[in-house]
């Protein structure tokens, strides 16, 4: 079993407008193996997204070490970090997904514009593959506003997978969708990542989503606590999940 993502003693705080410092992530340790799926749950505002920006190399941790695809990222500069984001990691965001002036295929091809040069023919082939994998082969020329919310999120999943990353990070991927659509999108996400052998980390406050993952971790007071099985939610937890 190879570890795709290793976080050791990771700390990350944010500066509030008031000037006060908020230590959202304190001493997080996490290892995610290839092909494994992990849910990170927690109250809204507990720092799940902040943790994900650090794990996804979108911001640097204040302390600790993050290893992605076998590379220690602590000392890497912008170029190798960008290369890792480009080739080793795929992102699925809640709201921040597609560019309105590009069609579905162009949105999916975005990561292929950066990093190692990919010839035009291969760009088209890989884009078509990725769109087919999420069941949207017919919608390649559609603009985001011509697609439903669920379809848009499936396009985003195709984009996350187009470079065949070993790690997919998703932040509330179904947060903006109704239950039935959420189910379908989640099935796509887990199915496609599993088929490609990629590890999947999903941040969610939704227990239903968390239960579909192999492991569930809870972010509480800045530390990840392992919940071996996604157990029935405690009363307080359920309430915060519905906020």
């Amino acid at each position: 079993m190879t570890a795709v993502l290793v976080a050791e003693d990771v700390h990350k705080g944010v500066q509030l407008a008031s000037g006060r410092r908020l230590d959202l992530v304190r001493a997080v340790n996490l290892t995610v193996a290839a092909g494994e799926s992990v849910a990170v749950v927690g109250r809204s505002g507990s720092g799940k997204s902040t943790l994900l920006t650090v794990l996804g190399l979108l911001s640097r941790p204040d302390r600790g070490r993050i290893t992605v695809a076998g590379r220690d990222t602590a000392t890497l500069g912008d170029r190798p970090l960008s290369a890792l984001r480009n080739g080793a990691i795929g992102f699925v965001f809640q709201n921040y997904s597609l560019l309105a002036h590009l069609d579905a295929a162009e949105n999916v091809a975005l990561p292929l514009n950066h990093g190692p040069r990919v010839p035009g023919r291969e760009v088209r082939a890989r884009t078509a593959d990725a769109l087919a994998a999420v069941g949207l082969a017919e919608r390649a020329r559609s603009r985001p506003r011509q697609l439903s919310g669920g379809e848009q999120q499936r396009v985003a999943i195709a984009r996350a997978l187009v470079r065949d990353p070993s790690l997919v990070l998703a932040d509330e991927p179904t947060g903006a969708l109704d239950t039935a659509t959420a189910d379908r999108v989640l099935a796509t996400l887990t199915g496609v990542t599993a088929r490609r052998g990629a590890a999947l980390v999903v941040v969610t406050h939704d227990r239903e989503v968390a239960m579909r993952m192999d492991r569930v971790l809870r972010l509480e007071d800045g530390v990840l606590v392992e919940e071996r099985q996604p157990a029935a939610p405690a009363v307080g937890e359920r309430r915060s999940a519905c906020v």
């Binding site: 996804g56 080739g87 992102f91």
Partner: protein
């Protein structure tokens, strides 16, 4: 290459903004090219007129007193050839005589300028018809050359004119062989000194005292002055006896034009500055608008350098395309308009392709695009990728 295509696509995606930033830059580049072209045309006009009337830059002049020329014209010309022509310079020796000129029977008082040397080399004198007679003794007497006023009065090339130099001498007939523009409003008739002497030996008074103008391309005032003094010395003149002064007015003219021109250039620079501020403004607004897109690009693997270049390149492309359009327009205007402003016989040639102005315009646009694009590009390269997971 891939980056340029990408930048072009970005420009197309933000057509309105692109056009806006282009407009202010367009005006500025037109101003820069216009000012430098018009400046050089105006300068050309002034310089041409000055060189037409007083001699090319640099020309010195002196009156050769009678004792210096007393050894006779051949000795004078030998001294001038030795010290001036052989050294690569040109001279114009002039003596004005009151004469009677006109068609047979209709002669009237007219000053005739008897000259030796090469008038066109010393002064800028456009030839309108015919030409100066060749300075070859075989062709003497060689004929007459008129300025435009004289042409209007006596007739053009081919007209036979009767010339009587002084009451004591009989008149002779000479054809008009050339018409020139000398910038003088009164009629002027030119005839070669040697030509006149072959027709009328002894026509020069015993105490004649000609005017000497000397010019050599690239030679300064002191070099020319020493050449004149050396020629005079050959003729036995004491070294302090001659008052050799600068004759052309180009130096002072250029100095006064330079200050006017730098005033205009300051205005052009100001419009350029305004354009840069406009570019900055639009650049920052564009980056703000594109934050979402740029963040997403960064998150999916674009390096900071790539994003920086992408935004800068968009600005530079706008700058270059705009500058190209503005330069073409300005040059077209100069090409079409300026020739109409030049009178026939003007000593001014229509400006050739003002490459300097075009280059200045392009350089100005490029500098403006870089200045106005760098800060927004830097801001673009610094977008906070963590934002992708918020809002």
């Amino acid at each position: 290459m891939r980056l340029i295509l990408e930048a072009l696509r970005d420009l197309r995606a933000h057509r309105g903004r692109t056009l806006l930033s282009a407009v202010s830059l367009f005006v500025a580049v037109i101003a820069v090219v216009g000012v430098s072209t018009v400046g050089s045309v105006v300068q050309d006009v002034f310089v041409a007129n000055a060189e037409q009337q007083h001699g090319r830059a640099v020309t010195v002049a002196t009156r050769l007193p009678h004792p210096v020329v007393a050894r006779g014209l051949p000795a004078v010309l030998t001294a001038l050839d030795t010290n001036i022509t052989r050294a690569g310079g040109s001279y114009l020796l002039m003596y004005q005589d009151n004469a009677q000129v006109g068609a047979e029977g209709g002669a009237q008082p007219q000053v005739v300028t008897l000259y030796s040397g090469t008038p066109g080399a010393v002064r800028r004198l456009p030839v309108l018809h015919g030409g100066w007679p060749a300075p070859d003794p075989q062709t003497y007497p060689g004929g007459l050359v008129l300025n435009q006023a004289a042409e209007a009065q006596y007739g053009g090339v081919g007209t036979e004119l009767s010339v009587q130099l002084g009451r004591a001498f009989p008149a002779y007939t000479q054809p008009v062989v050339g018409v020139i523009a000398d910038g003088v409003d009164a009629p002027v008739v030119y005839q070669s000194l040697l030509g006149a002497l072959t027709l009328q030996p002894g026509v020069l008074p015993a105490d004649w005292s000609p005017e000497l103008h000397v010019h050599a391309d690239g030679a300064g005032e002191s070099v020319l002055r020493s050449a004149v003094l050396a020629a005079a010395a050959d003729l036995g003149a004491p070294p302090t006896g001659l008052d050799v002064r600068r004759a052309d007015t180009v130096g002072g003219l250029l100095a006064s034009l330079r200050s006017t021109r730098s005033g205009f250039l300051a205005v052009a620079a100001l419009t350029l500055l305004v354009a840069v501020v406009g570019l900055l403004n639009i650049g920052f607004a564009t980056v703000r608008d594109r934050t979402r897109e740029l963040t997403l690009r960064r998150a999916t693997g674009a390096t900071r350098g790539h994003v920086f270049l992408l935004v800068l390149l968009a600005s530079v492309l706008v700058g270059l395309l705009t500058a190209l359009a503005a330069v073409l327009l300005a040059l077209g205007a100069v090409d079409l308009v300026v020739p109409h402003l030049l009178a026939r016989g003007s000593a001014v040639r229509a400006p050739a392709f003002p490459a300097e102005a075009a280059l200045v315009g392009l350089a100005a646009a490029l500098a403006a695009a870089l200045a106005g694009g760098a800060a927004p590009a830097l801001a673009a390269a610094r977008v906070d990728m963590a934002q992708a997971l918020r809002d």
